[in-house]
């Protein structure tokens, strides 16, 4: 008890302050850490996507000297388009490959050799011949499509040093491939199948075009239905509805609909649109209807906010010069609120584009190769295509899934950028 009480208080306070400041910095660091975790994940996420996906832009092709043998393509020499369409072009590709490796004669070896090229290679030759029938009888040097197993190997996704049992390419195939490579007959070319074709069991032929068209039709149906409905609902609730229990009920309903899990909307679509109304399964029309019900609350909420932002002076001026209430709303308030409504609609559409769970319920997970021509044809959507590919075991689908995701994200980015631009361009301060 040598020190006076005064100094001990002072010391205690000083110690306390040190402790409290330490706590302060710990707390602050925790906050920053949390933020960095979130942003770090975002960075990691985009890094993996791009690192996995960019290789899907290119595709391995093999240069073969294909003899366009007239006896195979058009034995009678009629040059009839139907004959040209129906010929066995894959045989020409196989013959060209066989001519490259004359020492391969055993049946099993030949099959392994022919597995190096894609089943789609013949279709490319067909296109070449149909476009230019005079080529028949000549020998063309063509870059034909390689099989996906070759593709992943050339791109280095699957190591050549793996033991043979762990590879889908055998040692002999690898040897042939190395020979082609040393002759400069293997190269990476732009992957147009990815952008221009539909789904396929062969990864090298699979593309996102059908899914994109399906998504487009679906969004079209959604937009045509949900925009007028949403705007009309917002106008009624904001401008005309009396404040009573009934309108309260509608409001509570809209807020709750916005939070109902999307899969429940899928159940509704299955039970009502498909089972009760008998609409076709897998059709973009049904998908659009379901997504319309899902986006409706988003559009209504945004549209109501846009309507409330129009100042009362505009309304009073319109009423003051003798407009009726309906004229006031439709001629003066609505045009001013429209940009805000459109912004909300675009954001709702972007959400609808990324939605996949309800589409699984209404059968849009079917394997669909053909591009849908009307909203009633069976189709799939971009996010569902991602889901389907993510489930496929082939290694070559990994890069395609990532690339499809990148395309999906680019679409979403464009839609959100459009919404932001619209907001910037038409935003008014009253």
């Amino acid at each position: 008890m040598s020190s006076t009480p005064r100094t001990s208080v002072k010391e205690a306070v000083a110690r306390g302050i040190r402790r409290r400041y330490a706590q302060e910095s710990v707390f602050r660091a925790l906050g920053l850490g949390a933020l960095l975790i979130g942003l770090g994940f975002l960075a990691f996420f985009f890094y993996t996507l791009i690192a996995n996906g960019y290789t899907a832009l290119a595709q391995t092709r093999l240069r073969l000297d294909v003899a366009l043998d007239a006896t195979v393509i058009d034995p009678t020499g009629s040059r009839d388009p139907a004959v040209l369409e129906g010929a066995d072009y894959q045989k020409l590709v196989r013959d060209a490959l066989g001519a490259r490796f004359p020492e391969v004669t055993a049946r099993g070896d030949l099959r392994a050799l022919f597995a190096l090229v894609s089943p789609g290679a013949g279709l490319e030759i067909r296109r070449l011949v149909v476009a230019d029938p005079r080529a028949i009888g000549t020998t063309r040097s063509v870059w034909v499509l390689a099989d996906d197993d070759v593709d992943v190997l050339v791109k280095g996704h699957v190591s050549r040093d793996l033991p043979e049992v762990d590879r889908r390419i055998t040692d002999r195939q690898l040897e042939w491939l190395s020979r082609l490579e040393s002759e400069g007959r293997v190269a990476l070319r732009f992957n147009r199948y990815f952008f221009l074709s539909g789904d396929s069991r062969d990864p090298e032929l699979a593309g996102i075009w059908s899914a994109t068209v399906g998504s487009f039709y679906m969004l079209l149906v959604t937009l045509v239905l949900s925009f007028p409905l949403g705007v009309a609902t917002a106008i009624y609730l904001e401008e005309f509805a009396p404040r009573n229990r009934w309108t309260d009920l509608i409001e509570v309903n809209i807020n709750n609909l916005a939070a109902v899990p999307s899969i429940v909307f899928g159940l509704l679509g299955l039970a009502v649109f498909i089972n009760e109304f008998g609409l076709p399964r897998s059709a973009p029309l049904v998908g659009g209807l379901v997504l319309c019900l899902m986006t409706l609350p988003v559009i209504i909420i945004a549209s109501r906010a846009a309507l409330t932002a129009v100042p009362p002076s505009i309304r009073e001026a319109a009423l003051g010069v003798g407009a009726s209430k309906m004229q006031m709303v439709l001629h003066h308030v609505l045009p001013l609120a429209l940009p805000g409504m459109l912004t909300g609609t675009i954001i709702g559409m972007a959400r609808a584009l990324g939605e996949s769970a309800p589409l699984l319920m209404i059968g849009m997970v079917a394997f669909i190769v053909d591009t849908p021509e009307t909203p009633l044809d069976p189709a799939t959507a971009l996010p569902v295509q991602v889901y389907l590919w993510a489930d496929s075991p082939e290694r070559a689908f990994v890069e395609r899934t990532s690339a499809a995701i990148i395309v999906l994200l680019v679409f979403l980015l464009m839609m959100n950028a459009a919404a932001i631009l619209l907001r910037k361009r038409f935003e008014r301060r009253y």
Binding site: L257, K325, P383
Partner: protein, 462 residues
């Protein structure tokens, strides 16, 4: 597609009606000069005539579309020979389907007999007459109403009021859609769920501890008894959502606190939208990420620590789902934290509290109801989330609390039960609707509670 041409014709008629009504109003009808005072603008007269022309015609068309199939079915079936008519209703339905498919040119289930062929040609003829009748009736009704409305156009006719009332009814009808959707969801899910509960007792469903949704093809096959006890699904859902909340709540809340209380204006302007990008990423992308990146990483880490981690572990799905929910928690909490009045903070600083003490002892307690509301909304999001768990969680119903094992959730089971071909009378598919009903009710309850909590809080400072 005959009805679409008819629809186009009706629209054409409406355009004509608008033009006629307008012309009549402009020209000054019934002897009055062109400068006579008219109550409404010419466009409203035109609109009035057009509405009268279109609405009754469309109503008739809609009624026809609804009742035509019923009438066709009854007439065609009534003319079938007696031995076919005596069949039970289900088989009769199949025969009727065959008849219709024959007419549509689709593949038929069996080679058609002469009776069926005759019925098919009768069906085709009947349908053609029906279409002809419908076209005639709709067009005649449209023209008749047009003529009637056209004659009513006079200078003193209050066309504007009528048109405006019609528009208002349209607006009301539009706002009914939201209600109808909710009712539709509830009833459609409820009816199918009730059919399920006729076959499986609700108590077994809610409290049973074994889930293996099969229906037997033969009575003696292995595992023929389907078990529909949903407790493992509820437990799995809670486990994954719980892991997700363990990630999302601390990270989301702390980033909201940092962004609203510590971060500089510039950092906030960049970091906040970037964090919200996370909310805009489609869930299927998170699912892909969870299944292909996070799952293998967790497995590798687990192996190096000597832990047995399933490749579809609850942990992986929960972690990724938590990341998805971070922006949800953070932006909602950010709003409530910013809404705490500055005076409270100033008072606390004035007493000598540090920033973190102010946040912990003053800001957070007064923002608590809002934060609780945000967390409840996030929980309802997590429970209803589908794609992440479909892609990254398991299918087998394990009743376990071990996050390293694979569990399944309510949404996963709904998807697996309903994807693919199904028949709508087996408990297997109907179980999905029972699960959907539970999901709908739980999320609805969570939302209602959350909105209540948030609303009550807001009133404090107003």
């Amino acid at each position: 597609m005959a009805s679409s041409t008819l629809l186009l014709a009706v629209v054409g008629l409406a355009v004509l009606a608008y033009y006629l009504g307008r012309q009549r109003a402009v020209s000054g009808v019934l002897g009055a000069g062109p400068r006579v005072y008219s109550h409404s603008l010419p466009g409203y007269h035109g609109g009035y005539v057009a509405l009268w022309c279109v609405l009754p015609a469309l109503l008739l068309l809609a009624l026809w579309q609804i009742f035509e199939p019923i009438w066709l079915r009854d007439t065609v079936l009534a003319q079938l020979p007696d031995d076919l008519r005596a069949l039970p209703s289900q088989q009769l339905g199949l025969i009727y389907n065959d008849i219709r498919n024959l007419v549509e040119g689709n593949v038929v289930s069996s080679s058609p007999s002469a009776d069926i062929l005759a019925a098919a040609s009768r069906y085709a003829a009947l349908r053609q007459t029906s279409h002809g009748l419908a076209t005639g009736a709709v067009l005649v009704l449209g023209i008749a109403c047009l003529a009637w409305a056209f004659r009513r156009v006079r200078p003193d006719f209050r066309a504007r009021n009528r048109v405006e009332r019609a528009i208002e009814y349209l607006l009301i009808a539009a706002s009914m859609v939201a209600i109808l959707t909710t009712i539709g969801i509830f009833l459609s899910v409820l009816f199918e769920a009730l059919r399920f509960f006729q076959q499986v007792s609700p108590l077994d469903f809610l409290f049973g501890r074994s889930w293996s949704p099969q229906t037997a093809i033969r009575a003696d096959q292995v595992g023929s008894s389907g078990a529909f006890g949903a407790v493992p699904l509820f437990a799995g859902t809670l486990l994954i959502s719980g892991i997700a909340m363990l990630v999302a709540v601390p990270v989301g809340l702390m980033s909201a606190i940092y962004l609203s209380e510590y971060a500089s204006r510039r950092l906030r302007a960049y970091a906040k939208p970037m964090l919200e990008i996370l909310a805009g990423i489609p869930t299927v992308v998170y699912g892909y990420f969870a299944a292909l990146t996070v799952g293998p990483i967790l497995r590798a880490v687990g192996e190096s620590l000597g832990l047995e981690v399933a490749s579809e572990s609850a942990l992986g799905a929960g972690l990724v789902m938590g990341i998805m929910i971070i922006p949800f928690v953070s932006s909602l909490s950010d709003d409530v934290i910013t809404a705490v009045p500055q005076a409270l903070r100033d008072g606390s600083y004035g007493l000598g509290a540090t920033r973190s003490e102010t946040i912990r002892h003053v800001v957070l307690p007064s923002a608590l109801p809002g934060i609780v509301g945000a967390v409840l909304l996030a929980v309802s999001r997590a429970i209803g989330e589908t794609m992440i768990v479909v892609m990254a969680a398991g299918l087998a119903a394990n009743l376990t609390a071990n996050p390293f094992e694979a569990v399944t959730t309510v949404t996963v089971q709904i998807v697996t039960l309903l994807v693919g071909d199904q028949e709508f009378d087996s408990p297997k598919t109907l179980a999905a609707f029972a699960l959907g009903l539970v999901l709908f009710l739980v999320t609805l309850a969570l939302n209602v509670i959350a909105l209540r909590v948030v609303r009550r809080y807001r009133e404090q400072y107003e």
